[in-house]
């Protein structure tokens, strides 16, 4: 699993990217309906289940049906029912969120 950490620990917005406070991480959710949050990453507790931000993103982006959607970070699927610590996710992550491929035909 990805473990992205910002190099500029403790930097403020004038000197570099924001770093999360202890036991938190920065999260964005990317979909073809838009990126949530629109004004920069959300700082979330690292023991929070991933599905919390996915639900917020879906509500904000007006995604009505995300059943069978998959969430992934750096190309690896993650489990929305687990938290970030359990999946070794830290720093600033971007969760790619979209529908899983449909089943193929049998010709």
């Amino acid at each position: 699993m990805s473990n992205k950490s910002d190099a500029s620990s403790g930097a403020d917005s004038a000197h570099g990217p924001k770093s999360p406070k202890p036991n938190h991480l920065l999260v964005e959710v990317a979909t073809t309906a838009g990126i949530w949050p629109s004004d920069g990453p959300e700082e979330v507790p690292n023991h929070q289940k991933v599905k919390v931000v996915l639900t917020k993103a879906a509500d904000s982006l007006q995604l009505r049906d995300t059943s069978n959607w998959i969430a992934s970070v750096d190309g690896l699927e993650i489990n929305p029912e687990l938290n970030y610590v359990d999946q070794t996710l830290a720093g600033h992550i971007v969760i790619d969120y979209g529908p899983r491929e449909g089943g193929g035909g049998r010709e």
Binding site: A30, T31, T32, A33, G34, I35, L63, R64, D65, N68, I70, G75, V94, D96, G98, P99, R100, E101, G102, G103, G104, G105, R106, E107
Partner: protein, 149 residues
Amino acid sequence: MVVNEAISRTLFEESTKGISGRILEIRGWKVWVNSYPILEVSFVAEGRQELRIKMICDDWNDLPPSVELLSSDGTKLTSLTGVVAAGTQFHAGPHPVKGGPFICMVGTREYHTHGSHLSDLWENYRNNERYRLDSILTQIWNAWKKAKP
């Protein structure tokens, strides 16, 4: 039934307007055409041959998009070899109507016009959010990621 072109265009634009900006960088997508009735996007990833997807969306959404598989230079693929592994969604072909390799997945015209799936009507899916054009493209991308040659 021939769908009203203005309506088809509006639905196309609504369904594809988000295929721009940061999501392209995040996913490794390269947009060649995003103008009704064509959505043409390449999937790019390290260690993979680029796959260019051309979605022909005439009569959208009365009809699902016809999906062509192209090489990076825009020529139609005659084989999947080296590009993507044939399997569940990517079919080596030939498609009985169009010929050549094709994507056999709900939401593509090639699926719904194949003799094996004529009873699986597009009508049952067309109003489902999962079958917007951006969602169909995402499904194809997710299938491509898993189908390494």
